[in-house]
Every structure is written in C-alpha cells, then in structure tokens.
C-alpha cells in the first residue's frame, strides 16, 4: 500500500522526536524497603542541578514527597494526575523557574522533559512500558543536553527491564561506583572545558 500510493515517502516516526541520546542510563538493584535509603544516598552523592523523580502512582508520589521532606535537607515539589490543572501548572512553572531542586511526579508529561536544568532523572518506580520510559527519560531532539537516568530496579521489575531495553534497543547499565561528572554536569562536559581553555587563552 505504502509503495503504491506514496511517492518517495518521508518517514517520520513520532517516537523519534524523543531521544535517549546524551542520556546515560543506569540501574541500581534494590528492595522496596531500600528505595528511600538508596535515593537518599543518590541525593548526597550526585551533583544534582535539578532532578525529577518518577513514581508509578499518585499515592506513592505523595508518600515519597512526604518522606523526602522528612529527610530534611532536600527541597521538593510534587505533582500528580489527581491535582487540578491550575495547581499543577503553578508547581511546574515554579520548578521550571528553579525554585525547587527536586520534583516528584507521576506520569503526566506527554512529550518528555524539556527543562534544561534537569540533569538527573530517577525512576523511583520502574515503568512497565517502553513508551512510558521514553517519555520519562527521553528528551526532545532540540535539546542536546547531557544527563543521567537512574532506575531503581526490584526483582519484580526484571521482566519490564528486559522488555524495555529490547524495545528501545538501549542498554541500562549497572550503576558504577563513581559516576563521571562529564556525563551529566554541565561545567564538566568536554565541550565546555574546551571552550574555557580557548577563552582563557592557555
């Protein structure tokens, strides 16, 4: 049908608008009861500019946001699908303005994350579908920014992990002991270092 009716078709796969390019993907293996501890350690170790943390339900968004606030030293916003649109817009706007460092949310971004300041995305709950994963982690093509994605994987997530890697033809690697800052911290990216050297005139 395509060959017969379309003359030199230009194929656009809408999924291609979102890209995993520039995003280094890691997983940490955890039990449910270790997740908060794991997240706390990530907060303390990573050089986070802004982060988005995804949960799989609105209830878990609220519980996690409460928990993070209890931990004290981390500011955090949250949004989920059961909040009214006006409230959501305001929180999202404030986050985009950089008023908070962390945003906990459920799946309500339909076009991927396009906030440049976000350099770390954490899947507190691993999604079940490749499309959801791509929307959470993928970036619109026009932003060629670097970032890391960290997936908290439980034993129950093993099928989803395998399926999503296969469907997106990507690899999610075990989290290394030390994460190279060049992968997600703008000041350390090779391009910027080169620029600085050139501007500084040696």
């Amino acid at each position: 049908f395509m060959k017969k009716h379309l003359n030199n078709p230009y194929e656009i796969n809408l999924m291609d608008e979102l890209t995993l390019k520039g995003v280094t993907q890691y997983y940490a293996f955890v039990q449910e009861r270790q997740k908060v501890h794991c997240l706390n350690t990530l907060f303390s170790k990573l050089q986070i500019n802004q982060s988005i943390i995804f949960c799989n339900s609105t209830q878990r968004v609220e519980l996690l946001a409460k928990k993070i606030t209890e931990l004290g030293c981390y500011s955090c916003f949250y949004i989920h699908a059961r909040m009214d649109q006006q409230h959501r817009n305001r929180v999202f706007h404030d986050f985009r303005q950089g008023l908070g460092r962390n945003l906990v949310c459920s799946d309500l971004f339909t076009r991927g994350i396009d906030i440049q300041a976000v350099n770390v995305v954490i899947n507190f709950d691993f999604p079940k579908h490749a499309e959801t994963y791509l929307h959470r982690i993928g970036r619109s093509g026009r932003y060629g920014h670097l970032g890391i994605a960290i997936n908290l994987i439980t034993y129950d997530d093993r099928f989803s992990l395998h399926k999503i890697e296969q469907e997106l033809a990507t690899e999610i690697k075990p989290i290394p002991k030390v994460i190279n800052k060049e992968l997600y911290v703008a000041e350390f990216s090779p391009e910027n270092i080169e620029e600085q050297q050139q501007n500084g005139g040696g």
Partner: protein, 47 residues
C-alpha cells in the same frame, strides 16, 4: 503478573538507618541481569 508495589514496605518499614551510604555494589551483586535476560529469552522461545 504485575505485583502491586508494597507501599508499607517502601515507606513505613523502610531501612531508616541512613548513617551509612546505601551499598550499591553489594546489591548489584544480588542480581545477574545477563542471566535473567537469558532465562526470559529461553522461556519465550520454548513457549
């Protein structure tokens, strides 16, 4: 086949001892991703 995530495990009975860092390496050692992938594939092929 998709078990409901356990909120009470995650948020009430969680390991609250945050004095030490979470041990990523020790936990990664508990999960052999390649072996699990092979298992899933072979199960799919024989089905």
């Amino acid at each position: 086949n998709t078990p409901k995530r356990n909120n009470s495990d995650c948020f009430n009975n969680c390991d609250d001892n945050f004095k030490d860092d979470f041990d990523f390496e020790k936990n990664l050692a508990l999960f052999d991703k390649a072996a699990v992938a092979m298992e899933i594939n072979s199960a799919a092929n024989s089905a």
